[in-house]
Symmetry: C2
Subunit: 287 residues, 2 copies
Amino acid sequence: MCVPGTLETVRAQIEAEEPPDVDVDVPRLSRRTALLAGAATALGTAIPGRALAGSAGRSGMRLADLTHVFSEDFPLFPGAPPTSRTTAVTVQADGFYAQQWTLSEHACTHMDAPAHFVAGGRTTPQLRLSELVAPVVVIDIARRAAGDPDTVVTPNDLRAFERRYGRIPRNAVVCMHSGWQARIGSTESYRNADAQQVMHFPGFGKAAVEWLLTRRSIRGIGVDTLSLDPGNSKTFDSHVTVLKANRYGIENLRGLKAIPARGATIYLGLIPWRGGSGGPCRAFAAW
Amino acid sequence: MCVPGTLETVRAQIEAEEPPDVDVDVPRLSRRTALLAGAATALGTAIPGRALAGSAGRSGMRLADLTHVFSEDFPLFPGAPPTSRTTAVTVQADGFYAQQWTLSEHACTHMDAPAHFVAGGRTTPQLRLSELVAPVVVIDIARRAAGDPDTVVTPNDLRAFERRYGRIPRNAVVCMHSGWQARIGSTESYRNADAQQVMHFPGFGKAAVEWLLTRRSIRGIGVDTLSLDPGNSKTFDSHVTVLKANRYGIENLRGLKAIPARGATIYLGLIPWRGGSGGPCRAFAAW
C-alpha cells in the first residue's frame, strides 16, 4: 500500500530525470558531405556518425537513448536482489562527490548473456564488440498489447513487418515495442501481477525467436518489459531459445518508438562485468 | 605482501579475460558501397559503421575496446570503497545464473562527471548522448613516461601532435596514452606509491587542459591511469579545470595504442546512474 499520490510522484521524478528521447545534432554539413550523404541514402546505406570522426565535428546524425536512468526504485523481476545507493563522499565534506551502488546484474536496462541460462555459456566480457554494434529493427505490438497484456510477438508479426519495411538484416537486434514503458513509474503496474502473483506483460513468443534465429541469423532480441518472455511464462522458452543459440537479450529498453522501424544502428555499451551473466548496459541508436 | 607468483597469476588472469584490442569485421562491401566508401575517404569524411545499419550487415569498420574487464581486484584510487561480487543464483540450483555487485562509481574504466568535483554540477543522466559520441585523439607520451612516471601532458605535446596529425577537432575527447596499462595486473605497480605513500604515474597537466578547453573546445579528456591528474598531485588541478568547464574525464582506459592518433570516433556507453558523480562506462572506438 502507498500513500495516495506516491506512485504518481515517483513516476514524475523518474520521467523528469530521463534524458530526452532523441538528441539531434544541428546539421552543419559541407556541400560535398551533404551530397555524399544524399548519395548514401539513395543507395540505401545508412551512415551513422558519418561526419563525427572527421574534422567536421558535427553532423545531422540522430541519436536516441534506449536506456532508463539506473535507479534504486526501478522495477525488478520478482526475487532479484534490491538495488541500493549510498553517498560515499561529498564535495562539501571531502572535496569531491561519489556514490556507492549495490546491484543485481539484471537491474534496469541490461543484457542477458548466454551464461544467464546456459551452464558454461558466454559471460559479458566474452561478447565481441562487433556483436554490440548491430542493425536494429522494431516490431510494434503496442496496440495489441494495450488490449491483451499476455500477447506475444509471433512469426506473423515478423512477416508483416518485412512486407512493410523490407527484410530484417542479418545480425540484427530485433526489438519488441509494446508500450510498456508508460508503466515504468510503478512496479505494480510494470509487473502487472494478478491475485495469484502471475504477471501479465507482453514478450517474444518462442516461435518468433526460432524464426529469427534460423531464418534471419539475428544477434539478439530486445524488449521494453521486464523479461524476454511474456510475464505469465513458467518455462522461459524465449530466454532459453535465444541464449542456447549463443545470442543475447536486452530487457527494460525505452524509447523504441522514437527510432525508425528499420535502418538504425544499435550501440550496446555493455560493462564487461567479470563472470557476468549479463548486466547493466547503455543502449542507444543512431541513424 | 603476496605469495610469490600471485601478482603474475592475477595479471595473467585479467589479461586472459580481456576482449581483444581490435575487432575487425570481414570486409564484404558491395561494389557500390565500396565506391561510396572510397569517395568518402577521398573527401576526408570517416564513416564509422557505414554499412552496419543497412542490409549489408557487415563492413570493414574497425572497432577497438577501450575498457578493462570490470572486476573486484581492479586497482582503485586509495580510499575508494572496494568492489565486490557474489553469486546470487546458479543454473544448477535455481535454473538461471546471476551475480550481485557492490561498487564505487569510480571503479575500473569509468567517467568523472562535472558533479564529481563541482557542487551542483551535472550528474551522469544529465550528459547528452551527443556528448558521448565524439572524435577521439590520442596523445602518446609512453616513451617519456617510461623514464619519468611524474611526467604530464603539456601544451607542447599538443602542438607537436597537431604538427604531425593535424588540428584537434572541435568537441573531441583527448586521451593520454602513457603505457600504464601494462601495470594493470598489480595494484602496487599501477599506483606506484613511494615510501611516503605519494603515487607516481603520469596525467594531464593543468596548462594542457586549459589549452584544450579554450583553444579547441573539447568534450573531455581521457587517461590510461587511475586519475586525470598525475599521481603526485595534491590539488587535482586537471580534474577541477575540466569538470568546472562542465566537461568530463574518463579514467582507466585501455587499448589507446590500437586506435589511430586521429580519425576515430569514441563511443561512451555510460550507464545513466541516478545522481551519478560519474560511473562505470563501456568505452570503444570505431574507424
